[in-house]
Structure formats: C-alpha cells, structure tokens
Subunit: 181 residues, 2 copies
C-alpha cells in the first residue's frame, strides 16, 4: 500500500499546509489527533506541530517521544474533522473511525492506511511557551496511488478547501472555534 | 483597498498554509521576502515564521522587531516566486517588482497592495535553534474583494497549487531546491 521514498520528500508534505493526522502509541493502544498547525523547519527534515495537553494524543506522544504525521486525502475530510472533534482519552479512535493501523519501521506509532503519506517522527524538543513539538522525520512513506492535489486545507473557521472547492464543516466543530469566527 | 477586520481572522490566513510575503522597513527603504514556512500558534494571534539570516529581510525584521505578513493571491504567484529567488540586500524589490507599499497602522513595515490580506506583526521572540521567529499579530487588513480560494500553496519542490490546478515554477527556483527534489 505504501512505498518508502527519499527522506527529502518529507517537507513536500508539510510545506503546502495540509490538514494532518498525528498518531501515537501508548504501549497498549493507538491514539490519533487532527492537527493543521504545522511548519517545515529545515532541509534536515525537522518539522514542528503546535499542540498541547488539551489533545490526549499529545500526552501519549510526549511520553513515547515519537509519532507518525499522516497526510489524509480530501476523501477522508469529514472523518478527519470528526477525529479532531472528540477526545481519545476514553475512546479508541482507530476503532471508532475504522482506521487501519499499519506497522511503522522506526517508531511504534502506526502508519494510517488510506493516507497519501506517512512521516515517521521522533520528538526532539518541546518548546512549552509556544506549544511547539519539534519533530525529526526518520522515514517517509507515500501511497502508491498518491495524488498530491487531493490534499485539503483548513481555513480555521470550520471551512476547508481542496481542488478549488470549499467544504463547510462548521457545525461539526463549532465547539472548537472562538465565538466570533 | 483594505478594510480592517477582527483580529481573530489572522489565523484564518495562516492555518491554510499559503505562500506569504513578509515585508519589513529598515528606516530608509522597504524589504520583502517570500516565506511558505509558517504556523499558527494560539488564539491570542501568535504565529511563527521559519527564516534566518540567509534572507536579507530577516535581518531587517530582527532589527526593527516588526513586519507585515501578506497573503498574495494566486494571480501574483510568479511575482512572489521571483521575489523569493533574489536577495534584497542590494536591490529594492518593491521597485523591481512594482509592489505598492501602503502605510500600516501599528508598524513601520508596509502593507502590500494587491494582496488578499495583510497582518501587522511585532517580533516577540526568536528561537534560534529552529530559525523560528515568533510574531504577535496586532492588526488584520483584508482586501475589500478578497476571495479566499485564490490562495496558493507551495509543494516544496517548485510546484504550486491553487484551485485544484498545478503550476510548475521549478526553473525559477532550482537554485533554492535540494539537489534530489
């Protein structure tokens, strides 16, 4: 389903600013959160995500010091938004959302089937003041049938865009939005 | 040309991950650089950009402690990429690229006419290890005729996408890309 590609391709998945899924493993089960606040840091394949203890998967990721950053295609948009709207503290989101976890090679966090790309990452720093988790990408897997144009982007107000089309998921995430947006 | 909008709208321009123009003023003239490595940090309108002294405008921005992050529409794509491909150390890029600088209200860095949005920002921190400049957005201006779907995104390898269409500018920026991309 996935093929390993050059490590330099990691940034090609982060720089465009897509909505991502971040998975982590707590020793017993897998966890996953939706993150659209990401940044490329350098050509040594360091990237950062902005998250904190309001996301249960963040706690798992900080304890295990590793994660997978997956890039879902737009066909998974509604699922990705629903994943971002509930906590995995008591719910196994892989089961609830019928996600298929596949074994990664350098981390125990799982790859996510159906995503366009999966980046295996180690946590190398945590900048608490800014809720930034600095990640080193170890390995990049791309779907054998990846089409980059299928990436989708968050506007930040419940609307999303892909391929020039807008999608409105405000109702699914109203509780996560500041009141005046 | 621009109207001021709620400060909370700042993140709506950063979260989707568009290519941006960042302007700064050195006391004598304006400078501008192209930055597509950006991240939203919190709902207090803090954002970060990843840049360093390889960008002349970075030096200006660090001395003046302020900048404007502008979001160009896709119709400016080629100009934006050319702006990112040359240094402003000796060249006035506002003149060379016929950019119109408009006065901002909280910073001396200029707004850029023709952009969809302009975010007036103060530099509040610099995380040198990761080349991250932490910015506080003070004010948001949006074009009166903004269409958010006109944002465009960098793939990171010289290709760009907007509205589901791909654009290839690899030849313009080959010297900036790692050799195997």
């Amino acid at each position: 389903m996935f093929k390993e590609v050059d490590i330099e391709r990691a940034l090609l998945w982060i720089e465009p600013g897509p909505v991502t899924l971040v998975s982590a493993f707590d020793g017993k089960r897998n966890h996953v959160m939706t993150i659209s606040w990401t940044i490329a840091l350098d050509f040594a394949q360091r990237i950062a995500i902005c998250t904190g203890s309001w996301n249960h998967t963040f706690d798992v990721l900080m304890k295990s010091r590793e994660c997978v950053v997956a890039i879902p295609p737009v066909s998974m948009a509604e699922k990705v938004i629903r994943i971002g709207d509930i906590s995995g503290r008591k719910v196994d989101k892989f089961k609830k959302f019928c996600l298929t976890a596949l074994p990664a090679s350098t981390v125990k966090a799982p790859l996510i089937a159906g995503c366009s790309a999966n980046l295996e990452c180690s946590v190398i720093d945590h900048l608490e003041n800014y809720n930034l988790v600095i990640l080193q990408v170890n390995k990049v897997w791309e779907s054998k049938k990846t089409e980059r144009s299928k990436m989708f982007h968050a506007f930040g107000d419940g609307r999303f865009a892909a391929n020039g089309k807008q999608m409105n998921y405000r109702e699914l995430m109203l509780d996560k939005l500041p009141p005046n947006l």
